[in-house]
C-alpha cells in the first residue's frame, strides 16, 4: 500500500513542478516570440515593397492582408500571406500584388519543409525573381524545362515540379479569395 501512495505522490509532484516551470517559461518567452514573428513579417513586407512606408491590416476574416502605402500615402498594392500544402509539408509565403490585382509585385517564402536542395529551391532568388511583375490573369501557370511563353507563365524548377506547381496553385487560390473579398 505504501508503495502505491509513493507512486502516485511522486508522479503528481513531478507533474506539478513541470507544470509550474513550463508556464513560467511560457510567460517569459511568449511576448518575445510574438515580437519575433511580427518583425519577421514586417521584414518580408518591406522586402517586397522596397519603398513602402506604412502597412496596415485589412480586415478580411482569417486571411492576412496588408494595404501598403508609400511616403506620400499612394497605395502601392497589397501584401498577403498565402499558405497551402507543398510536396512534403505546408508552404507559407508572403506575396505582393499591385493595386490593380493583375500583376504580382513578388513573393517571399516564409516557411516551407520542401526537400532541401530540390523543393527548397522555391526559396532561391532566381526562382522567386520570376514572380516579379508576373501577370495573374487568367491564372498563374508553369511550364516544364522550356522558356515561359506568355506573361502569366513561370518555368518550374527541374526535378521539383510538384513544389513549383504548389506555389502557383496556392497563389492562384489566395488571389481569387482576395479579389472576391475586396470586390465586395
Amino acid at each position: 500500500m505504501r508503495n502505491t501512495v509513493r507512486i502516485i505522490s511522486v508522479l503528481t509532484v513531478v507533474g506539478l513542478i513541470s507544470g509550474t516551470a513550463l508556464v513560467l517559461m511560457y510567460n517569459y518567452a511568449n511576448p518575445r516570440i510574438i515580437k519575433n514573428q511580427k518583425n519577421e513579417m514586417e521584414k518580408a513586407v518591406y522586402k517586397l515593397f522596397p519603398n513602402a512606408k506604412k502597412y496596415d491590416k485589412v480586415a478580411m476574416g482569417d486571411d492576412v492582408v496588408f494595404k501598403v502605402t508609400d511616403k506620400s500615402g499612394k497605395s502601392l498594392g497589397y501584401a498577403f500571406i498565402a499558405e497551402g500544402n507543398g510536396y512534403q509539408g505546408p508552404i507559407k509565403m508572403m506575396a505582393g500584388i499591385k493595386p490593380d490585382l493583375a500583376t504580382l509585385e513578388g513573393i517571399e517564402i516564409l516557411e516551407s519543409q520542401e526537400t532541401p536542395g530540390l523543393g527548397q529551391e522555391i526559396a532561391s532568388d532566381n526562382f522567386r525573381a520570376q514572380f516579379d511583375g508576373l501577370k495573374t490573369s487568367p491564372e498563374i501557370t508553369y511550364v516544364k524545362n522550356a522558356k515561359p511563353g506568355s506573361p502569366n507563365e513561370i518555368q518550374a524548377i527541374t526535378g521539383a515540379t510538384i513544389s513549383s506547381k504548389a506555389v502557383c496553385t496556392i497563389l492562384n487560390e489566395q488571389i481569387k479569395t482576395i479579389k472576391q473579398k475586396l470586390s465586395k
Partner: protein, 208 residues
C-alpha cells in the same frame, strides 16, 4: 576537501572522457540517431542541436541523479521522461525567444530531443544509479561527444551538398552539388561510413 574529491574522483576523468570516444553516444552506443540524421544538413544546425541537447542532457542528469532514490520502480520511465520533456520545452521556447531564425530551421526536431534515446538512455543506465557529480561529468562527456559528431557529420554533408561549411563558400561554383547529401538517404549513408571509419580506427589503434 581534496580527499572528498579524490574519493569521488576515482576515475571521474574516465567518466568524462568515455563519452568522447570509448562510449561515444553515436558511434559506439548507436543512440540518438533521429536528430543526428535529420538536422545535420548544415554544420550550424548540428552545432545548435548539439548545444540544445547538451543543455537538456546536463540539466536532466542533474535532476534525475538528485531524486533517483525517491522514484519507485514502476514510474521510473514516466518520471524521467517528464523531467526531460520539461527541460526540452524550456529549451525550445528559449531558442524561439532569442534565436528565432535557428529555431525555425531546427523545426520539429527540437521537441524530438525529448525522446532522444541518448538522454533517456543515460538517465536509465547512469544518472539513476550514480551520484550527482559523476552523472554531471558523464552528461557533459556524452553531450560533447554527441555535438562533435553532429558538427563533423553536418560539415561533411554541407560540404558535399551545398559546397559550404558554416556557410563559408569552400567549393567553387563549378562544383556540382550532391543533392543526395541534403536528402535523408545521404545522411544514412554518410553516417554508415563514418561508423565504419570509427570502428576501423579503433581496431587499428587496438591492434598495434
Amino acid at each position: 576537501m581534496n580527499n572528498v574529491c579524490n574519493q569521488t574522483c576515482t576515475g571521474c576523468g574516465k567518466e568524462f572522457s568515455k563519452g568522447l570516444w570509448r562510449q561515444n553516444p553515436i558511434f559506439v552506443q548507436v543512440l540518438g540517431m533521429c536528430p543526428t540524421l535529420a538536422v545535420t544538413t548544415k554544420a550550424l544546425f548540428g552545432f545548435s542541436m548539439g548545444m540544445a541537447t547538451a543543455f537538456v542532457l546536463i540539466c536532466s542528469s542533474l535532476a534525475v541523479s538528485v531524486i533517483r532514490k525517491l522514484v519507485p520502480q514502476q514510474v521510473r520511465i514516466a518520471t524521467f521522461t517528464v523531467i526531460i520533456a520539461t527541460f526540452v520545452t524550456c529549451a525550445d521556447y528559449f531558442l524561439q525567444a532569442n534565436f528565432y531564425t535557428i529555431s525555425k530551421e531546427l523545426g520539429p526536431y527540437v521537441p524530438l530531443i525529448v525522446v532522444n534515446c541518448i538522454i533517456l538512455g543515460r538517465q536509465e543506465a547512469f544518472a539513476s544509479k550514480n551520484g550527482v557529480f559523476r552523472s554531471l561529468l558523464d552528461a557533459i562527456g556524452m553531450s560533447v561527444g554527441f555535438t562533435a559528431v553532429l558538427i563533423l557529420l553536418g560539415s561533411i554533408r554541407e560540404l558535399l551538398g551545398f559546397g559550404t561549411i558554416f556557410n563559408f563558400k569552400i567549393l567553387g561554383a563549378g562544383f556540382e552539388h550532391w543533392v543526395i547529401m541534403a536528402l535523408p538517404a545521404g545522411a544514412f549513408i554518410t553516417l554508415g561510413f563514418l561508423i565504419g571509419l570509427f570502428n576501423w580506427m579503433n581496431k587499428k589503434s587496438k591492434s598495434n
